[in-house]
């Protein structure tokens, strides 16, 4: 039953992806090794679409991944799985624990997790470089893109993604 598997995998991601939408990406990358739901280059496209559409990136990614795996119901199953751990944990915190105490308890756990998550995202970026950079020209484009994005990091990603689309079409026409 693919919907149950999707639900279970995304429940796990919802539980472990601490600190925002981008953190879900390494977990999705790992899914491409174990299931044929979507490819690694499809994952890059999913990231672009999720950053350019309304809603939290993590939720968008889950819906997209689930849709690629098993259509509309797949998208719903994956999203529901991602959301459920949050729902349970936040209700428990609201109900039983003092606000600041709960943060302190999690802070101890996060102490080691934050740098590990950084490694996860960097490693995922490294795998995606291999897919996006195919020759010297695309390599140079990647370096220039990074320098521009780093210089203008207050600008919304959507602008860079649209520029990327133009860049892709220009590279194709050469």
């Amino acid at each position: 039953m693919i919907y149950l598997v999707l639900f279970g995998e995304f429940f796990k991601i919802g539980l472990l992806a601490i600190g925002g939408g981008l953190v879900t990406i390494p977990f999705l990358m790992e899914l491409t090794d174990r299931y044929d739901w979507f490819s690694k280059s499809q994952l890059a496209d999913m990231i672009a679409v999720s950053e350019s559409t309304p809603g939290p990136i993590g939720v968008n990614m889950a819906t997209y991944a689930g849709f690629n795996a098993a259509g509309i119901s797949g998208g719903i199953a994956a999203t529901f799985g991602l959301v459920l751990p949050s729902l349970i944990i936040i209700i428990l915190i609201s109900k039983y624990v003092m606000k600041y105490q709960s943060c302190l308890a999690f802070q101890n756990i996060l102490f080691g997790v934050r740098p590990a998550v950084l490694a996860l995202i960097l490693y995922t970026g490294y795998i995606l470089v291999g897919l996006a950079v195919t020759d010297v020209l695309t390599g140079a484009a990647a370096v220039v893109s990074f320098l521009i994005i780093h210089r203008f990091n207050k600008v919304h990603p959507i602008i860079f993604i649209m520029a990327g689309a133009v860049l892709g079409i220009l590279l194709e026409m050469r």
């Binding site: 672009a48 936040i90 995202i121 996006a132 860079f160």
Partner: protein, 198 residues
Amino acid sequence: MKVYTNIVVFKLINSGIVQKMISGLDLFWTFFKIGLFTFGGGAAMLPLLRAEVVEKRQWASDEELLDYYSIGQCTPGIIAINTATFIGYKMRGYWGAVLTTFGVVMPSVIVITLIAALLQNYMQHPAVAAAFAGIRIVVVALILEAVVELWKKGIRNRFGAAVFVVSLVLLAGFGLGPVWVVLLAAVGGVIYLRSLRK
């Protein structure tokens, strides 16, 4: 007869059931709007959340919102969802939490499903394929920028740097999955903090 139905309608409205339904719908709809008009989630959501929840509806104070937000950041799950769940639970208990959470998620599900279905049909088109080849380059650059930004916040001491290096080795060298890396790092961090206190 007409008087009687009027009385029934009047009693129904005052009984609280209808009022509960209306306030529940209001919770759902408010968070649906927040989900629909936020690009990027997390920090991008805060201004709209404040305008709707604090200023317009007074469901929470500024201090409460900041509390929810900072707890949302240090607990598992997506920050936007955590904040929505907090406010829903505060307003209407379990069902409130479910309503706000589904409200904030629903626009994503609808919009992404439409786009994914559309792209599935056009991905083979040469221009679309070329555009996405370019977009992939930008996505890589965006991820690297995220790493640079997270580096400033995430790695503040030698232990952090050590966890970072060990995690990379486990991932790239030993092919360990991200689930295990995160769990090991969590346990390692807790043990390290304990040993400091002794």
